[in-house]
């Protein structure tokens, strides 16, 4: 073992430091296609103190740190950079407490998001943000990326549920930000700086989350359309009717076919768009809203609207949507998932634009996403070994980004910038905001110790 590895072993124990190729090769990637790095050393701290000691050591040795949870991110945030220490927090997975009086949950960064929701459920509570990866992704990762999920339109994203954070700073100081109070305006809202900072400003070592009472009822419906525009109009009308459903998910024709192929639940494969709608809350409200949503869908030309008859069926429909990304991946060896978001009113236009672009560049693209909040996932099905096709993929991606920014959208609604979206960040933020972001980074991490090269250089 190198000196650095030996010193790290002194902090976390020899069994918690990996250096052998067979041990570290699997840490070279996250969930992003076609991105690979090389991990030299992987360490598994089990406490905040150990994390701080590792950071102090790294600072002395001027070695960068890349923090990691389960490594399921979709923009390269936890792909190792050269010569970095990979700090893997999966051992810090305790759910310390669910407090039903304050409606909070306290957990280590390595706790699996779904397990937090399950623990809350035992008290009749729930943790709303539901990213597609929640069975395996960690809350620390979710906070670092400000993950979204299907329930985003009604319930918001991870940021809206972080009440407090314990963070280890790049100089190894440990800070506690926020608290269990519903209202608190003392000082700058510093926890917001770290939420979504993708491991570049600090390492999250504990989270205090807000919980909500678990909704008593839920109704799931699936509407099929012959035109995407009709689906988009349905969405706008639903919101105009003062209904905020907890789920409004859209799948295009390509995606529907792939998901049906995989999940085999009887999705209609010959329509242009499917809209998965869910409303939850008080049973009377759910009954009312569900009825009105079905009516609105029909009014806008829905071919058919199916309402799930029970929890099992509802779960089936929702599960099919959750596996859209991965079901598309069966088609070709490489799957590139994009994450552009536009204002809701521009959604239909964006979807049509992407479809036309796919034809123009002779590419296979499936688009699905959170129609309720304009967050689309155009998914390119390709083969990274085909250089010629990859060149066309990059042209198409570029065109999509330009169109998105033209429409006042963002290059990333929930997956983060990481490595994948770096080329376009300055363009979206504009020079002044971009420089402000750089200043903040330099102030907090002057040595560029934490996750260098991510988000920006």
């Amino acid at each position: 073992m190198s000196t650095l590895a030996t010193e790290l072993a002194g902090i976390v124990g020899a069994g918690q430091v990996l250096t052998k190729p067979e041990d570290v090769i699997p840490y070279g990637f996250d969930g992003t296609a076609a991105l690979k790095g090389e991990a030299g050393i992987v360490v598994f701290p089990e406490s905040t103190e150990q994390v701080a000691a590792c950071v102090a050591l790294a600072k002395t040795r001027r070695v960068p740190i890349v923090t990691r949870g389960s490594g399921t991110g979709l923009s390269g945030g936890s792909v190792p950079v050269p010569h970095a220490i990979v700090l893997c927090l999966v051992r810090m997975d305790r759910i310390f407490e669910i407090d039903p009086r304050n409606l909070t949950a306290r957990a280590g960064p390595g706790a699996i998001t779904q397990k937090i929701d399950e623990a809350a459920a035992a008290h009749g509570l729930f943790y709303p943000p539901d990213p597609g990866s929640m069975k395996i992704s960690t809350i620390g990762g979710n906070v670092a990326e400000n993950s979204g999920g299907l329930r985003g339109l009604k319930y918001g994203v991870t940021r809206d549920y972080v009440m407090g954070l314990e963070v280890v700073l790049p100089d190894a100081r440990i800070v506690t930000l926020g608290n269990a109070c519903v209202k608190d305006v003392a000082g700058y809202s510093m926890k917001d700086l770290f939420i979504g900072s993708e491991g570049t400003l600090g390492i999250i070592t504990q989270v205090l989350l807000k919980l909500l009472p678990r909704p008593a009822a839920r109704r799931t419906m699936l509407a099929s359309y012959d035109r995407i525009e009709d689906a988009a109009e349905t969405v706008s009308s639903i919101i105009a009717a003062r209904i905020i459903p907890c789920t409004l998910e859209f799948l295009d024709r390509m995606t529907i076919r792939c998901v049906e192929d995989y999940a085999r639940i009887g999705l209609p494969t010959d329509c242009a768009a499917l809209l998965l709608m869910e409303t939850d809350g008080h049973p009377a409200a759910v009954e009312d809203e569900a009825g009105r949503m079905v009516e609105i869908a029909r009014l806008h030309g829905a071919r058919e609207v199916i309402t799930a008859r029970d929890d099992a069926e509802a779960l089936q429909l929702a599960t099919a949507r959750r596996s859209a990304f991965s079901a598309l991946a069966r088609i070709r060896p490489t799957t590139i998932l994009e994450d552009v978001t536009v204002p809701r009113s521009a959604l239909a236009e964006m979807v049509s634009f992407i479809a036309a672009l796919a034809i123009e560049h002779r590419l296979v693209v499936g688009t699905f996403g959170h129609m309720g909040d304009g967050n689309l996932h155009p998914t390119f099905l390709t083969d990274e070994r085909d250089e010629e096709e990859m060149a066309r993929v990059h042209l198409a991606l570029d065109a999509i980004v330009r169109k998105t920014l033209e429409l006042g959208g963002t290059i990333t609604g929930e997956h983060g910038v990481g490595l994948a979206k770096k080329p376009w960040l300055r363009q979206q933020l504009g020079d002044a905001s971009f420089e402000l972001m750089r200043q903040i980074k330099s102030a907090i991490d002057p040595d560029h110790l934490l996750n260098p090269g991510k988000i920006f250089d």
Binding site: P26, G31, F44, S70, A329, R330, D383
Partner: protein
């Protein structure tokens, strides 16, 4: 089928997009939280070998030995990664590389894979000898006299787990041709297996009875080869191919409506003879047809319609819980049918087993090669079984059956372990003779 990872169609390796959905289903990742002990991690190592970034090393060999081969990841993988093919190719390459070779290991592999499990008559002779040793009192004497301490450490550890060999094997219990009472609708072949044949031949008899009761003429040749799953899973693909050819020759697929297996693990390998023999012009077509005819017995009964019994399998009502064997679940995708059969039984309350498809640790020869991890998994399984307060554990794979029997014995628990088909057979028997013991 490729002999090495490099020879594999690269698209098979690329199919993994490292989404991580396999991680929560993997028992070894659950134990260690180390990426290399997960399917995603193992595939990344395999890809590194195919890319010439890593050699086939001892560490890699160890890792592929640590993998249970339970295929839970294959069920969880939305991208359709063929982990079974990757796993078998990796293990085959490890054997060819010789990285693990030691005289002792070579001895045991030759004895088991090349001698015993390639020659059914030799296996049977060995079984009979072991039975004699057990029944004559010699085994208990050797144990009490402490003679077993003379065994090498590994054998000494395994010795208490030696299964009880049956007195009669399937060929003495089942006639080669047994016609169903008229009207018979189907002609089926019954595969007697190896472990099943030597340790649980009564399960084969029960299977024949159930098939006869459901209008099937049953053909059970007295001497049948091993199906080859042991060989394929342990890096001996050529031997597996030889056995597959023997099976197909013994049971020409065109002669039957169905070829039936009652062992979850074997059945999973048996229904993939097509890819195994795809490059053999003499057998490729027959192997393809074989795969279409090969069924798990529960699957077959569900397809043809199983006659519900009018009597209960036991004299009094009992609670039964069902353990999903990995290969029946993930390899064959048969989960609802065994439960449906259990629900047909009067006097049985079916309690769902928590983590029913979490591996019990039997995993072929895993309890021999990875005893600690096997024991950990067994403990978890036994814990759940006891939670259900069932008095009967039903399972449809001999490996799991033995493993769970051992676990229950060690836990001092009084549960019975039975194959769902045995419970059905018992119910049928008690229709005509209510006092028939199970």
């Amino acid at each position: 089928m490729a002999a090495t990872l490099k020879q594999l169609d690269y698209a098979v390796l690329q199919q993994c997009m490292h989404c991580g959905m396999c991680l929560p289903t993997c028992p070894t990742y659950d134990s260690t939280r180390r990426e290399r002990n997960s399917p995603r991690g193992r595939i990344s190592l395999m890809r590194a070998i195919a890319d010439d970034e890593l050699a086939v090393t001892r560490e890699f060999a160890d890792e592929m030995s640590y993998c249970l081969g339970c295929l839970a990841c294959q069920t969880a993988c939305p991208a359709g990664v063929n982990y079974a093919e990757l796993f078998e190719t990796a293990r085959a390459e490890i054997e060819t590389s010789g990285i693990n070779r030691t005289p002792a290991r070579s001895f045991w592999r030759t004895l088991s894979l090349r001698v015993l499990f390639m020659h059914p008559r030799v296996l049977r002779a060995f079984g009979k000898a072991l039975h004699l040793y057990q029944q004559s009192g010699l085994q208990s004497w050797a144990r009490t006299a402490g003679l077993t301490r003379l065994l090498p450490a590994d054998l000494r550890r395994l010795e208490p787990q030696t299964p009880e060999i049956a007195g009669c094997f399937s060929d003495r219990l089942i006639a080669e041709h047994e016609p169903a009472p008229a009207p018979a609708s189907y002609r089926v072949a019954l595969l007697s297996g190896c472990m099943q044949d030597l340790i649980f031949p009564d399960i084969n008899r029960d299977t024949a009875d159930v098939l006869l009761a459901n209008g099937c003429n049953v053909h059970t040749p007295p001497v049948q080869p091993c199906c080859g799953s042991l060989h394929a899973h342990n890096g001996e693909r050529e031997m597996a191919r030889t056995l597959a050819r023997r099976m197909i020759t013994l049971f020409p697929p065109g002669d039957y409506d169905a070829i039936l297996s009652n062992a979850g693990g074997c059945g999973s390998h048996l229904r993939h003879y097509g890819p195994l023999l795809a490059d053999d012009p003499q057998f490729a077509e027959r192997a393809r047809l074989w795969d279409l005819k090969l069924h798990d017995v529960h699957e077959w009964l569900a397809a043809i319609g199983c006659r519900p019994p009018t009597a209960a399998p036991f004299a009094e009502p009992k609670t039964v819980t069902y353990h999903d064997s990995c290969h029946l679940t993930h390899g064959q995708k048969v989960t609802l049918q065994p439960r449906a059969i259990l629900r047909l039984l009067p006097g049985i309350h079916l309690a769902e087993l928590p983590e029913s498809s979490w591996c019990c640790g039997s995993a072929g020869v895993y309890s021999i090669t990875q005893p600690e991890q096997s024991a950990r998994l067994l403990e978890r399984k036994i814990g759940h079984i006891l939670e259900t307060r069932a008095s009967v554990l039903a399972t449809a794979n001999p490996g799991c059956h033995l493993q769970i029997l051992n676990g229950l014995k060690n836990a001092g628990a009084e549960l019975e372990v039975a194959h769902p088909i045995s419970l059905l057979a018992s119910a049928y028997r008690r229709e005509t003779s209510p006092n028939h013991p199970l």
